[in-house]
Structures are given as C-alpha cells and as structure tokens.
C-alpha cells in the first residue's frame, strides 16, 4: 500500500525536492524549451498545445508528439516532464519507455477514463497530479503520485482557482491537526481518503509529498502569491508563451519564485515585462468548459 519509505518512492519524491523554489514551464517545442532553460526554469513540461490553445481550439487533447518530445529531451539538460491523459496508463507507459523524468496525469488533456486514475505505484517514473482539495490530493498520493499541484484553471490566466485550491488544501490540513483519533476516522470518510494518509497528515501537518501550484499563473506576482500561501514551487502553463515577451517573462517568474517574500525584488522583476496573456473570467464560464472538474 503506502510505501513512503521504499527506495523507489523516496527517489521519486527526491526529484520533486530538487524542484522546490523553482518554476516548471509548459513548452510545445525545442525552441521554447531552450528559452525556458535559459531563463532558469527547473524543468519543462512537454505538451502539444498550451492550455489556452486547447481551450480555444477544442478537440481531443492527447499526449504530445513523440518526435517533438525527443527533440526537447535532446535540447535541454533540465528534467523534462510530459502529460498523459487521466486514466490513460498506456500513454504513461510509452512516456516511461521514452524516458521522461516526470509524468503529469493531467486534467488539461481530455480524460481517457472517467472513473479511474492511473495506478501510479506500478511505475518507476514519478507522477505529479492535480488536486482541488485535500481528499483529492490524498487519493492521488494513495495511487502513487510523488508530487501534488493545485489544478487551478489551466489556460485561464486567472489565479483565482489556484488560490482557492491551495487555500483549501492548507486549511484542510490544519483542521486535521486538531482532531482526535475517532474524528480522523470520520474525516477520512468525509474526505474520501485513506485513513492511514489522513492520520499521517494530522500528525505531520503537511502532505507526505511536495505541494506545488499550477493553473492560471501569469505574472511574477501570481507566482509569489501562491508561494506565500504555501506552494513550494510553481508550474506556469500558457502564462509564458502566450505573453508578449516570453524570455523576459520567464526570467521574471524565476526571480519571483526565489524572491516570493521580498516585495522590492518582486517590483524589480515585474518592471518592463510587456503584456501578460489575456485572462478569462472564470465565474462567467459554463461548468462544462472548466478543466478542473475533470478527474475526482
């Protein structure tokens, strides 16, 4: 079941530890990957289209083109992550065979299975999964995820959902720390999460794996905000390559992740950035257009 002390799991979490305090950037080709690495990204996420384009163009979003991913892996020396559809364990096995460093079982792609997520314990490659609340995070960890990120609302350029999700996860963890044993059993039922994991969080006051943020981060201030709220690193999707000057914005977000509690330095990083990506008002979007409701 839970193998927090197994060598394989420690090595999976170990890479996430190395990514802390950094920025993981979505890229669709080798040229973008190089821009991300040169700006100081700790890793790149290879995908076919950035979330803003998936949202605009519609259709089925799948694992990225193999040739493109190979080119990205040849071009940069930082870790390369790639997205697989929720429940699509064959895409995941192909990505493992390709040798990517992390797999994101992601709601940004079109789900392949509406009931089951991938059994991530069966893989040697580590997985990151999105979550909106503590129950969802613990279910993914039970399946073997070695890293959790907020779902936020990908491709929206709007930070409100990522804030909601990181605040929810942090608050629900705090609440567990004051409960007694019989209350934890009830809370495990309410959260829909394994009791053993609920007890672990209650005892330690944090997730058993690193906790990052994603989904709507478009500016250095956005990155700093979610890190102030408890995220240990950030993923930036459309925010970099849908802005007017990707190289400058990428560098600024990297500086913001390091200086997340220093307003003077954030001011410096935010100067002369050009236009951010256009944002969407999520409150006005129909539920069917939300990506965060994919998966459970």
């Amino acid at each position: 079941m839970f193998q927090f002390t197994s060598e394989q799991f420690r090595v999976k979490v170990g890479l996430a530890e190395m990514l802390k305090g950094g920025v993981i950037m979505d890229v669709t080709n080798a040229e973008q990957a190089k821009i991300a690495e040169d700006a100081g990204a700790t890793a790149v996420m290879a995908l076919e289209r950035v979330p803003a384009d998936i949202r605009k163009e519609g259709g089925v979003a799948r694992m990225a083109n193999i040739g493109k991913m190979e080119e990205i892996m040849r071009t940069v020396t930082i870790p390369v992550m790639a997205k697989a559809r929720i429940g699509h364990f064959m895409e995941a096995r192909i990505l493992q065979a390709l040798g990517v460093d992390y797999i994101d079982e992601s709601e940004v792609l079109t789900p392949a299975d509406e009931e089951h997520h991938i059994d991530k314990n069966a893989f040697r490659v580590p997985f990151v999964c999105g979550a909106r609340n503590l129950g969802e995070a613990l279910r993914r960890i039970a399946e073997g995820a070695a890293l959790i990120r907020t779902k936020g609302e990908a491709g929206s350029g709007n930070i409100v959902e990522a804030v909601r999700h990181i605040r929810t996860i942090v608050k629900e963890m705090k609440q567990l720390t004051v409960l007694g044993p019989e209350e934890l059993v009830h809370q495990a039922k309410t959260l829909g999460a394994p009791l053993e994991l609920v007890e672990w969080v209650a005892h330690n006051g944090r997730l058993p794996v690193p906790n990052f943020s994603a989904g709507g981060i478009a500016t250095p201030a956005d990155a700093a905000l979610v890190m102030q709220l408890g995220a240990e690193a950030v993923f930036v999707g459309s925010g970099i390559f849908k802005s007017s000057d990707p190289a400058a914005r990428a560098k600024a977000v990297v500086q913001a992740a390091k200086n997340f509690d220093n307003a003077e330095k954030l001011l410096e990083a935010s100067r002369a950035l050009g236009e951010a990506m256009p944002g969407l008002d999520i409150a006005k979007m129909p539920e069917s257009e939300l990506l965060q409701t994919r998966g459970w």
């Binding site: 060598e7 420690r10 090595v11 170990g14 890479l15 530890e17 190395m18 990514l19 802390k20 305090g21 950094g22 690495e37 700006a39 100081g40 990204a41 700790t42 890793a43 020396t77 930082i78 870790p79 493992q96 040798g99 990517v100 460093d101 992390y102 040697r124 490659v125 580590p126 560098k251 990297v254 500086q255 992740a257 390091k258 200086n259 220093n262």
Partner: protein
C-alpha cells in the same frame, strides 16, 4: 551553536536545514550576499544547477561566494557539487571553481536511473565519523571524473568518487540531506 548558511535560491534547502538541525547546528537560509557575514560555513544544496547559476548571476552572489570560500568551509551536494567543481561537462557550464574536481552532469542518465545505494566509505571517513555502510540517494546525479591537487576521496560508488574533500571544502554527488544518517553533515560540522 555553529551557524551554517544554506544557499536558498532554489532546491532542497529546507531538507539541508533540517539535517543541520539534527546534527546540532543552526541553519540560516541565505538569499542575499549580506547574509554571508557571520556564518561559520555554507551548504550549497541539491536542485537544478542551471537555475542556481542564473540566480547567482541575477543576484550578484557568485563573487560573494568565492570570497566566502577563501576563509570558510563550503559543502555542496549534487547541484552544489557541480557549482563547486573546477570544470563541468555534459554540457560545459560556468562554475565557482572552488575545488580541483571535474564533474559530468546527469552522468547516470535520466530520472529513471536515479537510485538509492549502500556505500562502503573509505576507512578515513569511518574513522572520522562512525562505522557502517553509508546510504546514498542519487537523483539525476553527476559523476566526478577527475580529482586532483590534494582533493581526496572519502567514498566511492562503483569506482567513481562520490564524496570528496579538499582542504576546508566538501562535495557529495548524492543527497545526505535525504537520509536519516547524519554522518556526512556531522563530518562537515567538524570542519567548521
């Protein structure tokens, strides 16, 4: 209590801070050059060496670290060891050149090749710390390809040096901060 800085630009600096506390030192998370002033030593943690290099340059910290290293001990793990090396390959990149070692990045392969190994350290390491095998966590680790000029090896894995000391400095290609064995941190604190 010894005050030991942990370079906190990016990476697993909190894990190093916790390991230093367990070993009986007070960690100070260093983000600005001024913070180096009254420290007894410094740890450069694991993380992405390319990211740390950019941030060192953005923040004007590289010269401050070179100056610090002339008087005080520095201990680098993984990315930290890459930054301390004289020359870096796979591909070539800048470094602080604090030790006479050459390092090849990602030399074991990708994440799928990351591993936990049990090492039999050199007798000198055991004499200076305590007996027993040493657990080493390698994450997309580099390999030390050359050790010269008084730099000497304290532990090897499959024949390659993984823990090297030169004068006041220490470099490991693995992550002692990610295990419960505190001997490598204790060895570093002995040098302060």
């Amino acid at each position: 209590m010894k005050k030991v800085g942990v370079l906190a630009l990016q990476g697993d600096f909190r894990a190093h801070g916790a390991a230093l506390e367990r070993a009986g030192a007070e960690p100070v998370y260093v983000r600005e050059p001024e913070q180096l002033q009254d420290l007894d030593g410094l740890v450069i943690p694991g993380g992405e060496s390319t990211t740390m290099l950019k941030l060192l340059n953005y923040e004007g910290l590289a010269d401050a670290l070179r100056e610090f290293a002339r008087h005080k001990p520095i201990f680098g793990t993984c990315a930290g060891a890459i930054l301390m090396a004289h020359a870096v390959s796979g591909p070539a990149q800048e470094s602080l050149a604090l030790m006479d070692i050459d390092v090849e990045r990602n030399a074991y392969g990708r994440q799928i090749d990351s591993r936990v190994a049990a090492l039999d350290p050199e007798p000198e390491f055991l004499e200076r710390t305590a007996p027993g095998q040493l657990e080493a966590v390698f994450i997309r680790a580099p390999i030390i390809r050359r050790v010269e000029h008084g730099a000497h090896v304290l532990a090897r894995y499959r024949g390659d040096p993984v823990l090297v000391e030169q004068g006041r400095h220490l470099a490991a290609t693995f992550h002692p901060e990610l295990t419960s064995d505190g001997r490598v941190h204790a060895l570093f604190l002995e040098k302060l």
